[in-house]
């Protein structure tokens, strides 16, 4: 039985740069293939033991302004911790964009020195150097890590090679522990920290990224990979993606 259930964390609070478009794109690409798809909202105060949540095979969480991230912070760390960890351990797909990517790390250090603890599922930390370092902002491109690009499933579903495109906009710089695999390697733009060329993080089927656009709208090959992984299938029906391909080629030339 092939069925996609998207768990959307904090839909109302965390949607800073069209991030919710990622869910719309996932749904649309499933529907075009007649794949049964549904979205469950996992909001503030909702209890993860609710039975609808256990079917989730793609978890999505976007980023928000500071005030919204503060709003969900306690709920995220206390109420959702074990649920998210369980999904990760059982190799479900998860994608975390920008602010939520940072919250999945060990901690976030502000420029005033204060430290905000994260969920700690990703062995990474983020530091904001204030005005001493410029904000990482602009069009960005990267090559997906070999674990993804060499995965036979990715090779089957990708019709756009192993590059991804997007827009990044973050003040914090993220650093990965040595044993942690980055999601991708930047070819244009800043990525995690504008120093080591890494972008995002990849752990089992969980991905953290700074890419907006939204990332799954700009990179339909990545979207399809996530769907295939969630369904545990080797390939997917090819869609008529003329517009997406044209958009992707145009984005590769952006400065």
């Amino acid at each position: 039985m092939s069925k996609i259930v998207i768990g959307h964390l904090y839909r109302d609070e965390l949607n800073l740069y069209g991030d919710n478009g990622n869910v719309e794109v996932l749904v649309s690409r499933c529907l075009k293939r007649n794949i049964d798809v549904s979205v469950v909202d996992i909001g503030l105060g909702s209890v993860p033991s609710y039975k609808g949540f256990s079917d989730v095979n793609i978890l999505f969480m976007g980023g928000g302004p500071d005030s919204s991230q503060k709003l969900i912070y306690d709920d995220f760390l206390s109420e959702k911790r074990s649920y998210i960890s369980d999904l990760a351990a059982s190799e479900k797909v998860g994608i975390f964009v920008c602010g939520s990517y940072q919250l999945m790390g060990n901690y976030y250090k502000s420029f005033d020195g204060s430290v905000l603890e994260g969920l700690g599922l990703f062995n990474i930390y983020t530091e904001n150097f204030g005005s001493s370092k410029p904000r990482c902002i602009g069009n960005v491109r990267a090559l997906l890590n070999p674990q993804i690009s060499q995965d036979p499933v990715f090779k089957n579903v990708s019709f756009l090679g192993n590059e991804i495109v997007g827009f990044e906009n973050h003040g914090g710089r993220t650093f990965l522990d040595e044993e942690v695999t980055p999601f991708a390697h930047v070819t244009y733009g800043s990525g995690n920290n504008s120093e080591d060329g890494t972008e995002g993080v990849h752990q089992k089927n969980f991905f953290g990224t700074y890419f907006h656009g939204p990332v799954l709208a700009k990179n339909p090959h990545l979207t399809d990979y996530l769907i295939a992984k969630a369904l545990n299938v080797q390939e997917l029906l090819r869609l008529d993606d003329g517009l997406s391909i044209a958009s992707f080629s145009a984005s590769k030339k952006l400065r």
């Binding site: 906009n169 709208a217 517009l243």
Partner: protein, 379 residues
């Protein structure tokens, strides 16, 4: 100051006659360059009572409507009607609007001011009336967050440089900052009944109309009279205005962020039968913000309903991003109707026997489109 104003006028004339632009920013920019505190000089205001309008969407229309009413009441008014709303543009408008006769007084100075430039303008100019419209996410790569702007606004208002603040009491981001009833604060929603009953829906957004009525009510012009004087009001450029080229009527609605796009897609003055084609133009220039992710914050079902049964054209530097977004919203788009060149798109629209086209451009796209169709960007 008189000589500087004269110099500014000559510079403006030069820029316009050479076709270099509207010349509405450079004179002020130069003045501020040499005299950073020039705006503090009250002779620049020519004795006028100052009304400032700020917010994310609707500034230009609101300023235009307020000025329209004041002028019809035979007050003399200076305003920055072209929408040059940063400090340099405001300074330019004052320079250019200053009467040649140095002894002549002006009754009102009506200015739209960019929401982030507002603190620095109010640093130098005391306003009689400050009209705060809506705030929403706009040009995120330049502006940061709504919270941030509200905080800056609260700070300046606490400085007491404004006599009356007119604001939207229904906006939750203002809650706790401005209190209706406190002296000097007016929630414009109290004029809801007047605005709703008016026949101006096709030319100005209801909330902005309430703000206009509230501002003028403070000046002793009652709501009924304001509405009366607005009868022959024409929509501001790019705010529902209609332009014609080669027998095609184009109705332009500036759609520069999710809020303005969603409002345009549900504009009460626009019936389904009023147009048969839609042209989206999306640019990623500096004044637009380089990040176009916001198009996914436009409500899909609104896009879908608006475009149902209409032929859709897409242009601008990010036309393919818009095409993909529309496709995900379920709007039918064909590749032949997508072209980054506005000139070629307008030619195609004409050659395909079009009559009524609604144009939804973002900021620089609107200027490019106007240039193409009218031969000039602004007025």
């Amino acid at each position: 100051m008189y000589l500087i104003s004269l110099f500014g006028k000559l510079l403006n004339l030069l820029i316009r006659s050479l076709g270099l632009g509207s010349g509405e920013t450079l004179p002020g920019y130069l003045l501020l360059r040499f005299f950073p505190k020039a705006l503090k000089n009250s002779t620049l205001l020519s004795g006028g009572s100052v009304i400032i309008v700020s917010g994310t969407n609707g500034k230009t229309s609101t300023v235009k409507a307020i000025s329209h009413i004041l002028r019809k009441r035979e007050f003399s008014v200076i305003s920055n009607s072209s929408g040059a709303n940063l400090k340099s543009g405001v300074t330019s408008s004052l320079l250019l609007g200053k009467p040649l006769n140095p002894y002549k007084k002006i009754d009102f100075v009506v200015l739209e001011v960019d929401e982030l430039a507002l603190p620095s303008v109010l640093d130098d100019v005391s306003a009689d009336t400050l009209v705060l419209l809506n705030l929403s996410r706009d040009q995120l790569d330049r502006y940061g967050e709504v919270d941030f702007i509200v905080e800056r606004w609260a700070e300046i208002i606490n400085l007491g440089r404004v006599s009356t603040v007119i604001y939207d009491g229904e906006a939750d981001y203002f809650s706790g900052i401005f209190a209706e009833g406190a002296s000097g604060f007016v929630d414009f929603n109290r004029y809801h009944r007047d605005a709703v009953s008016s026949k101006l829906k096709d030319r100005i957004h209801e909330k902005n109309l309430m703000a206009v009525i509230a501002a003028l009510s403070e000046k002793g012009i009652d709501p009924a009279e304001s509405l009366n004087l607005l009868e022959d009001f024409k929509a501001a450029y790019g705010r529902g205005e209609v332009v014609y080229k080669d027998g095609v009527s184009y109705r332009i609605f500036l759609a520069k962020n999710p809020a303005s796009m969603n409002v345009n897609l549900t504009f009460p003055g626009l019936g389904k039968a009023d147009f048969e084609k839609v042209l989206f133009i999306l640019n990623d220039g500096i004044p637009d913000g380089r990040d176009v992710s916001w198009i996914y914050d436009i409500e899909s079902n609104l896009l879908n309903k608006f475009c149902a049964g209409k032929k859709v054209y897409i242009s601008g530097s990010r036309c393919y991003d818009m095409a993909v977004r529309l496709d995900y919203a379920g709007v039918s788009v064909t590749k032949q109707d997508i072209d980054s060149s506005i000139t070629d798109t307008v030619d195609k629209i004409k050659s395909e026997g079009s009559k009524n086209v609604v144009v939804l451009p973002n900021y620089s796209a609107m200027l490019d489109f106007r240039k193409n169709v009218l031969g000039r960007k602004i007025l």
